[in-house]
Amino acid sequence: MNAGPTTPLADPPVTASRRRILARTRLDFLLDALLLVAYTLAYSLGFTGIALHEWLGTGLGVALLVHLTLHWDWVIRTTRKLFSRGSRERFVWLVNLLLLLSMTLCIASGILISEVALPQLGITPPASSFWRQMHGTTATLTLILVPIHAALRWRWIVGVARRSAAWRPGRSR
């Protein structure tokens, strides 16, 4: 794999790797934006109605798994350096952990109290007041944590949005 000066049509390795990083950044950005919009819609039960709320919640569960998988490197890296890093990174880690706990319990409890989506599939979940209460509490906690989670990375968001706005297909930046 020698992409030297004798092959002018092939991309130099640095550009190809940079392009890969940019593609990955764009994927992260789009998925994060999708998660934010989906959660905002899912929380607005009066706007979506119960069935759409439940299906959006189920979709959010899948998207959350993908989001976590894409950022698992960060989780491992930050957890390892937790006691040797500055307080800000520790705060971000704590917010992310709380968000993981509350969102997971919110989606799981939502599935367990499903009134439309699961019954439509022929599954009758065991409705319980514990899970109803859990769903309400974790949904509110998630509503507080989601904007904090996003805002803690606002510089990255602004940077990627600016680059994406200036990006033209076929032109590597």
């Binding site: 109605g49 119960i50 009758t124 514990f130």
Partner: protein
């Protein structure tokens, strides 16, 4: 391969959280306490299936009922604005301290 490895770790982490939630539910009296009667739940399911209970959401968004959505957006925007403001102020202070130290 790396993606699959990470996905497995994530699924395990999520399963642990859900498992802990189940334990919590069990410890606080189990699904039996304060539970809606099973017969009622089954009846509701049957009514949804047969169309006796009409669920609005099948029709999608209620575009006229945007109040709920606007309220959610307002809460999110307010919280994000607070975090960004604090972040900007802290950054500015740090920069000023650094400038003062070098001067």
């Amino acid at each position: 391969m790396k993606f699959l490895r990470h996905l497995t770790a994530v699924v395990l982490a999520v399963a642990v959280i859900v498992g802990l939630g189940m334990l919590w539910a069990h410890a606080s009296g189990g699904p039996g306490r304060g539970q809606a009667p099973v017969h009622e739940a089954l009846l509701r399911t049957e009514q949804i299936k047969t169309g006796v209970i009409r669920v609005h959401s099948g029709n999608g968004f209620r575009l006229a009922d945007t109040g709920d959505l606007i309220r959610t957006c307002e809460i999110e925007a307010a919280l994000a604005a607070v975090v960004i403001t604090v972040s900007v102020i802290r950054r500015r202070r740090r920069r000023m301290r650094r400038t003062a130290a070098t001067a």
